[in-house]
Symmetry: C2
Subunit: 691 residues, 2 copies
């Protein structure tokens, strides 16, 4: 795994509570009564024109398919079936069958089914028109139609007499061709059902590349029949069979998603070398590596047997993964053996390779021959970009936009990942505003075309099947919009407004991002009675990967069962509280509603403390967070005092502000693997108090 981009300390934020129901719901209720079209779509389409009236959903869909693929297009038919079922469930409509006749007209026209192996050039455009009398979808291929159906689902709205589809006309196309999510299934294994529900979520937000990180120092997760020792000795028994991988490829294709597998070489290869030590550059591992971070083991790039092995292996993998791209990793390979193995040193002299970079470039060039023989393209992390690298390599940039720009200037296609590392535990709004190709980028029109898109990265040092969803979702939905929608779609507040319904939609697909936290809290507290604990947990969020790694000295054997594993990054409340504070600060002496709300919210935290402290007595794991809980009363007092000063327009006594800011600084120090998510809002309140 690439070393992470520098983690600029992010402002923590705060959470919501019941008082905000009132405001939100009154607005929604009015909207429903007057049946105003509410645009909840994520990603936003490139063009949307509201129509007049709406289509009442009183019966399920009478589907008509036209076009060249109407008869035997099983992919399209199953996409329609899935969409229909989801709308039926969302609206309480019975499924069509004996005694139930569908009457809502749904016409689809698809020019052609799409490529057997979806390419980067797949035409994903579609149009969707809803009138009071029916629905028309038109697309060039199935993939466009699949996107249109996801849009249709998101358009379902409550009306005064049941559910409706508002009249609307949408003309949509993606901004970028490569809209990916990478999941590291190697450091910690994720079972097939997790992958499937993730693909469902990706399809819901129109992502189209599942980048499957399958090998690491900590595990080789893909079965090879040619080299069975790879999983026999390198996986702890946790790997995907070839049948399962093929099932995932088919499942993804059904949803308009390509699968790009990644097999890390020459570094991050301890698991390969456990199985086949003869491939090593000198030092050979005696066990699967449990520690995280960069390893010294490396595949030997100087022996022909290495390339024979890789050629046979990638050849076998090509029978499972039909995509035109294969990722070879290529990052973080210090390979100290290359600097001291006499045979390797002699090889470098003989081939005029000046240093490790040059040797790795040699390695990449030889592997590229295999990949070309397989009629595929190579993808690699930033490090593969060394002088002399052939141009037919896609650079995935984890180092940042500058690295991407540099690659484009050199003529390389690129995919940006640096700003989309989910394990930084940053708010969705931060990721959202990072553009893979801002209009301000210093690139020519031709160079701009080389930026294929972006990829969200989910590294797995601290992931389990229980926590993965809350780390990926719903933040990835916001990033997916960045990859799909026009650059001009940049309203963070509106993004957060739409993130909530999308989050609920993702839950209905089986994703567990909203429920897994409560499950963890129940286990920690050993009771179902977690209201108080939930109140406090909602004011906390996980620290970044790096902070946890350094604080807990985690490795692959660490039990991921602490408080940090039951709180989630960027709960919807964080942004909502920011809005409350912002509004209050515009008229602090008259805005009693927001003041009351904020006072009540901090009071709810302190009220919960005695209950949570009692639970900590009986749960050593829960007691993790005791240092944070102990900080709450002082912080709540800061809030109450700030609100009082601001509401009365009084000046604070001399020294008060300095003392409060000191308390906030104290609360920002690392502790308990979790951080408060309301400190930035609180800081704004304190800062606004007149001296």
């Amino acid at each position: 795994m690439p070393h992470r981009p520098s983690t600029t300390p992010r402002p923590p934020h705060t959470t919501w509570k019941h008082a905000l129901w009132v405001g939100v719901m009154i607005v929604s209720a009015q909207s429903a009564r007057t049946q105003v079209f509410v645009n909840n779509l994520m990603p936003q389409p490139s063009s949307l024109t509201p129509g007049s009236g709406s289509l009442a959903l009183t019966s399920t869909f009478a589907v008509q398919i036209a076009g060249s693929s109407a008869e035997n297009d099983t992919r399209l038919r199953s996409a329609i079936e899935r969409a229909t079922r989801r709308i039926e469930m969302a609206t309480g409509l019975p499924h069509a069958g004996t005694g139930v006749t569908p009457t809502t007209p749904l016409h689809l026209h698809v020019d052609r089914p799409g490529e057997e192996v979806q390419t980067i050039d797949e035409d994903e455009t579609y149009t969707l028109k809803i009138t009071p009398t029916g629905i028309d979808i038109a697309a060039k291929t199935d993939v466009g139609a699949i996107h249109a159906l996801e849009t249709l689902i998101q358009l379902v709205q409550p009306g005064p007499q049941g559910y409706i589809l508002p009249a609307v006309s949408i003309d949509d196309a993606p901004r970028f061709r490569w809209r990916g999510l990478m999941i590291d299934c190697a450091r910690h294994f994720e079972p097939i059902p997790v992958i499937k529900r993730t693909l469902d979520g990706m399809a819901a937000v129109k992502l189209n590349v599942f980048h499957w990180h399958l090998t690491e120092d900590q595990g080789f997760r893909m079965q090879s029949l040619v080299f069975p020792k790879l999983t026999a000795l390198g996986s702890d028994g946790l790997f995907y069979t070839q049948a399962e991988a093929r099932e995932i490829v088919a499942y993804a294709r059904d949803r308009g998603i390509r699968v790009v597998p990644e097999f890390e070489m020459p570094g991050h290869s301890t698991a390969w070398l456990m199985a086949y030590p003869e491939l090593a550059s000198g030092t050979t591992p005696t066990s699967i590596r449990r520690e995280f971070g960069v390893s010294d083991y490396a595949i030997d790039p100087t022996r022909d047997e290495t390339y024979t092995f890789i050629d046979r292996f990638l050849g076998e993998m090509a029978t499972i993964f039909p995509d035109a791209y294969v990722h070879i990793g290529g990052d973080e390979s210090p390979a100290p053996d290359w600097k001291k193995n006499p045979r390797i040193l002699a090889f470098m002299r003989q081939h005029d390779l000046k240093n490790n970079d040059a040797l790795q470039a040699y390695f990449n060039t030889r592997v590229l021959k295999t990949i070309a023989r397989l009629h595929k393209h190579m993808v690699g992390w930033d490090e593969v970009l060394t002088p002399g690298l052939p141009k037919d390599v896609v650079i995935q940039s984890w180092r940042g936009g500058d690295a991407l720009t540099k690659g484009a200037k050199l003529g390389y296609e690129g995919v940006l990942s640096a700003p989309y590392y989910l394990d930084g535990m940053k708010p969705a709004g931060v990721h959202y505003l990072a553009d893979p190709l801002p209009s301000t980028a210093d690139l020519t029109p031709d160079q701009r075309k080389l930026v294929l898109g972006g990829e969200v990265c989910m590294w797995a040092e601290h992931l389990s099947a229980r926590t993965i969803d809350s780390r990926i979702w719903p933040r990835t939905a916001a990033i997916a919009e960045r990859f799909w929608s026009p650059e001009s779609v940049q309203d963070v507040d509106d993004m957060y407004r739409r993130l909530e319904p999308i989050s609920i939609e993702l839950e209905t697909l089986g994703l567990t991002h909203l429920e897994s936290g409560d499950a963890g809290l129940r286990e920690l507290a050993a009771t179902e009675d977690i209201e108080a604990l939930r109140t406090i947990a909602a004011a906390l969020e996980p620290v970044s990967f790096g902070e946890r790694y350094h604080a807990q000295r985690t490795n692959q054997l660490t039990a991921l069962d602490r408080v940090v594993d039951s709180v989630r990054p960027d709960p919807p409340s964080r942004h909502f509280i920011e809005l409350r504070v912002k509004r209050f600060l515009t008229s602090p002496t008259t805005d009693t509603q927001d003041r009351t709300y904020l006072d009540a919210w901090f009071t709810s935290l302190t009220t919960a403390i005695p209950i949570v402290e009692r639970q900590m007595h009986t749960s050593p794991r829960l007691a993790d967070a005791s240092t944070r809980v102990a900080q709450i009363p002082a912080l709540a007092a800061v809030a109450h005092q700030s609100l009082t000063f601001l509401a009365s327009g009084q000046h604070a006594p001399t020294g008060w502000k300095t003392a409060q800011l000191q308390k906030l600084a104290e609360a920002k120090k690392p502790s308990a693997l979790v951080r408060f998510n309301f400190l930035e809002a609180l800081n704004q309140l304190v800062a606004a108090v007149p001296d």
Copy 2:
């Protein structure tokens, strides 16, 4: 599916809220500090002797296996691996691996691995001894050891400095040999992951028979390669492949669980007859049956071809399901064709078969020949017990204990199911007290031996993959105790005390019974902000199968997405509130703590109403429950007034009590597919007010 046992109206009850944290947690905290052994085991073992001190869990387990199967017993080794991981996660211990040396001694002695195909006579006994220096488990077979490991997991407790295992000596054996859970996967299909997590839950509470109801009027769920049309035409594409079924059989065996498949005949067979109409008795179906209830279609028992078909089919199934028992259903087959098809009538005359019962007995006897040829035993529902039935048939009794007793007197083995129908939505305590073989039963010792045990039944008219867990768990854990533990274990209050930690344990196994309700509420309300809705939902529970069926006229195509699908039967609060009311009524004029609590609880319901009502405006499906919500203020007033009268010792005004009881009666009337679960507690309060 057998027609349900008569559903005696059950007292609804009430739920808990935060106020009760205080009492519960103080007790627990004290227990932990003084390190009193807390017996949370479910099922209770037949013998348990607390020891002195405890074993501190500071490292994972150094496992030593002795006995005849030590070397190559993969089943035992994987059971140990699973148990070890679960304890590591529950206690935060790192897994053993490079740099992590396990030191907690865990010795197992297993005489033999157990039967390749687990039989009803498997020796499931075990002993478990924990001392401050280590753990010793001894069992006759793997199955006993698997049970012992589950007990070990339940013994883990918090101590003052981390987690401990209390010193204890346990000598355990099941009361009944047949401890089953039947799941109807035919009316609604359940995916394989659901089945697997259910098997995990069964193993946790030592159930040992998974009765897999695979065929119904509404679907044929088991793939046949000999008769592929069974699923091609009878399953809507939702069925288990043979590979999947074999995987389930192996998964179950790994957990000490037998799999008994059920193929319904001659009734409940619409799906068979859709595929092979030539098997019908006259009338043939034109579609899979969507309606529930008893169907008229029946397999023709008079043609030799029928038996050839069944012989080939059951022969094929025997290659997938190795268990010695196969269930042929046999219930609810009115078969009007048998009374009017001239050919069948002629056959009956010819064979001196007086009526349908006699013809079905003839059918059963012929099918029994196939089953005997396969070296298996037949199981059937009550109806198969007709005069002349061979004795080698096990009768599963859905009609009640009397039917079971009658069978035993006639010499038939039996399994009781009548009191364990989960879709009656009864409290766990009711099921718990129903004994399959009470000491008062009018049976001789030899006849008593014929009662093999009991089976919980989960019928699927109103089940989905999302709701199934909350319908099965945790109530089934209480019933599992009834099947395993001595008859004398009957303390309902103590059962409920232990049910909560077991419920949390089941959640850690991946069961979704605690989280699925919230997920449903979020979807209904289209927001994450469900505190108010959760408060009201906790005061509601689903009506019984029958009530919903009649009120909603459900069939297989009905969307199961209403409020009723997001509330659960018998939440832990119900019993807790009963205890509160009971305690308050013993000293109403002095017990201010319980009075305050109960007052606050009813107030929390009324406070939630405005928020929930606003959400109902924007959610037509949520509005289902509006009639119930509208009843709450009056009921809360009843509670407040009752508490006031009781606390003051005052008499109520003339007519007051009658008026209140009238309100309660009104609230008991069917509405919204849900019922209040606090009415019985409220009724007790009103009744106690002096006139």
